[in-house]
Symmetry: C2
Subunit: 315 residues, 2 copies
C-alpha cells in the first residue's frame, strides 16, 4: 500500500512574523524562505500584500517576493486583503492568492473592521479581478469557535465555504484561529466539508493554544484531510491568550505524521536545522518541541554506568 | 447514549515533584493533595516509598500519607520499589501499590541499576508479600520506545504485562516514559493490550516531549482506553530532553476529553485554580496550556471598537 501524501503550507514568515514586535530585516526573511524552500514544503505563505501602515512588519512584501529563489514544486502564496493587494500580488508573480475573512461576525468586525457581508463582497471583487490568472484560496477564520461569540455553527462555516466555492476558488482553509477546536468537532467538520466540496483543496489550520493542536491534526488526517498549515517553531502567538501557544509548530506536526507513516515529503533533519535558527531570528524562545527534544529516531548514548553494570553482571 | 466515563490518576506530587531541585515542604505537598482530592480524580499517586537517599524530595512519604485527608471515591496510590517499600506503604494505608520496571533492558539498567529479570523477581516478591491485602498496579516504562535502544517490540511489552497478569495484579500502566509514542503505534498497542488483558485495569501514561501527548490520548480513547495518568501543569520534565515538556498536563488532557463529551468526573474550574498555584509552589513556569489560555468555554469581552462599529453601521 502506498503511503498517503500530506501537503504542508508553511506560514511562519507571514502569520508568524506578523505579530513579532521587532522588525525582521528583509534579507533575513528572504534567507528563511529560501531555507524553507529546501525542506520539502508544498507551499509557503511568504508575506502579505496589505497596507504597510496596518502591518509594518510586512511592508517589504514586494522586495521579499522579488528576492526569494523559487524552488520547483513549491507554491509561493501570499495573503491579499483587497483588489489593491491582489494587483500587487499578481505583479509579484505569486503562485496563489490567499484571501481571509471570519465566519464569526464579531471576530470579522474586530479583525477586519467590517461586517462579514462587506468582506465577502470585497473578496468577491478580488476573485473577479484575478479572473483565472492565479489560483485563489480562501481562509475562513474562527471556523471552530469565536473567542467572543463562542460557538460558530458548522452550517454557517459550510455556507461561507459554499459562497466562495460558487465563485470558483481553488481551495478553502478552515482555520481554528484561536485554538478552540477539539478533535470530535474537527472530525465532524472535516467529514462534512469533504462531502460538500469534493472538488476543492481543503486545508486545515490549527492552533495549539490549549494543547490540542496535534490531536486536531490527527482527527483531521483520520477524516481524510491531507493539507495543513503550520508555522515553524509554533511562531505566532494568540492575542487573546498571553503566554499560550499560537499556531501548531510545523515541525512537530510533520514529525508526528512522518512517524505514523504518512508521506509528508519533508526533509526532517533540514527542517529542524532551520527551526533551531528561529530563536535567534525573533529574539525569543519558540514553543516547538521537536527542535528541543530531537526526533524520536534520534537515540541517546548509553551512560557509562550502564556499560560498567553490564560488564560487572556479564550481561 | 450515556457518556463514556474516563478515570484520571494525578501523578504531580510523585512523578512531577520527584525531579524538582528544591525540596517542597511537607505541608505544601499535603495541601496540594487535599486540593486535588476535591477536583474529581479517580486516583492520586501521592508519593513514593523509596529510599530517602535515592529521592530526597519524597523522604516525607509517611508524613504526607498520614496528614492528607482521604476523600471518599478517591484512591491514594503510592510508588513502591521493593518489599521494604511495600511494608511502609501498607502501614501508611495506601489504597494501591504501584510497582515499576522498564520493558527496555538498557533503560532498566540505567534507571533501576539491575537487569529486567532481577526487577521482575524483586517485584514478584512484593506481590507475594502483599498477597491480596491491597491492589497492585504495575507501570511498564518505555513501552513505546527506549531513548537509548530505540524500538521496544510490542510483543515484549505484552509479554512483560502477561508475566504480571499471571501474578494476579489488578492493573497495568503502559508508559511512554520519554515521549516517543506516536498515535498509530498507540492505537495498535492499546487494541492488543485490551484484547490480551480484558480483566485488568489498563492505564496509559503519556509524555508531551515532542508535542504528541494529547494526540496519543486521543488515539488511546478511540481504542477504548478509559484510564490515564496526568501530571498537573505538565510537571515532570525529561532528563533526556532539556527544555522539552515531560508528562502531559492533566488539565489539558481533561479539558480536551471534557470538550469532546467524555465524562471525566472532573471539576475543571477547581482544577484550573489548583493548576494556577503550581508555578508559585515549584518556583518556575509549567508547560500546561489551558491554565494560561483558559478553557474554550471561557469567552472574551467584545472590544469597545467593535461595539462602536456595530452602532455606526446600525448592525
Amino acid at each position: 500500500m502506498s503511503k498517503t501524501r500530506i501537503f504542508f503550507n508553511e506560514v511562519a514568515t507571514r502569520d508568524g512574523f506578523q505579530i513579532e514586535p521587532e522588525f525582521i530585516p528583509t534579507g533575513t526573511k528572504v534567507a528563511l524562505v529560501d531555507a524553507l524552500s529546501g525542506c520539502g514544503y508544498a507551499k509557503i505563505e511568504v508575506t502579505s500584500f496589505t497596507s504597510p501602515k496596518a502591518i509594518p512588519m510586512l511592508r517589504d512584501a514586494e522586495e521579499v517576493m522579488g528576492r526569494i529563489r523559487r524552488a520547483p514544486g513549491v507554491e509561493y502564496t501570499v495573503l491579499v486583503p483587497n483588489v489593491r493587494g491582489a494587483e500587487r500580488a499578481l505583479e509579484s508573480k505569486a503562485d496563489e492568492l490567499n484571501l481571509v475573512m471570519s465566519t464569526s461576525e464579531t471576530h470579522n468586525l474586530a479583525n477586519l473592521r467590517m461586517p462579514r457581508d462587506k468582506s465577502f463582497a470585497s473578496l468577491s471583487e478580488v476573485v473577479r479581478v484575478v479572473a483565472g490568472r492565479t489560483p485563489i484560496n480562501v481562509s475562513l477564520s474562527c471556523a471552530f469557535g469565536c473567542p467572543m461569540e463562542g460557538d460558530v455553527p458548522q452550517h454557517e462555516v459550510l455556507a461561507w465555504g459554499q459562497r466562495f466555492a460558487d465563485l470558483g476558488v481553488r481551495g478553502l482553509t478552515i482555520c481554528d484561529t484561536t485554538g478552540m477546536a477539539q478533535p470530535a468537532q474537527v472530525a465532524r467538520l472535516c467529514d462534512e466539508a469533504q462531502r460538500r466540496f469534493p472538488g476543492l483543496q481543503l486545508t486545515l489550520h490549527f492552533h495549539n493554544t490549549r494543547g490540542m493542536g496535534l490531536a486536531n491534526v490527527l482527527a483531521a488526517v483520520q477524516s481524510g484531510i491531507v493539507r495543513f498549515d503550520g508555522s515553524l517553531g509554533g511562531l505566532g502567538g494568540c492575542p487573546y491568550a498571553p503566554g499560550a501557544s499560537g499556531n501548531i509548530a510545523s515541525e512537530d506536526a510533520i514529525h508526528m505524521l512522518d512517524a505514523m507513516g504518512y508521506d509528508t515529503g519533508m526533509d526532517m533533519d533540514r527542517l529542524l536545522r532551520v527551526a533551531r535558527e528561529l530563536p535567534a531570528i525573533v529574539g525569543h524562545e519558540v514553543p516547538g518541541q521537536v527542535a528541543k527534544a530531537g526526533p524520536i529516531t534520534q537515540l541517546h548514548p548509553v551512560p557509562a554506568a550502564v556499560t560498567e553494570l553490564r560488564a560487572a553482571l556479564s550481561l
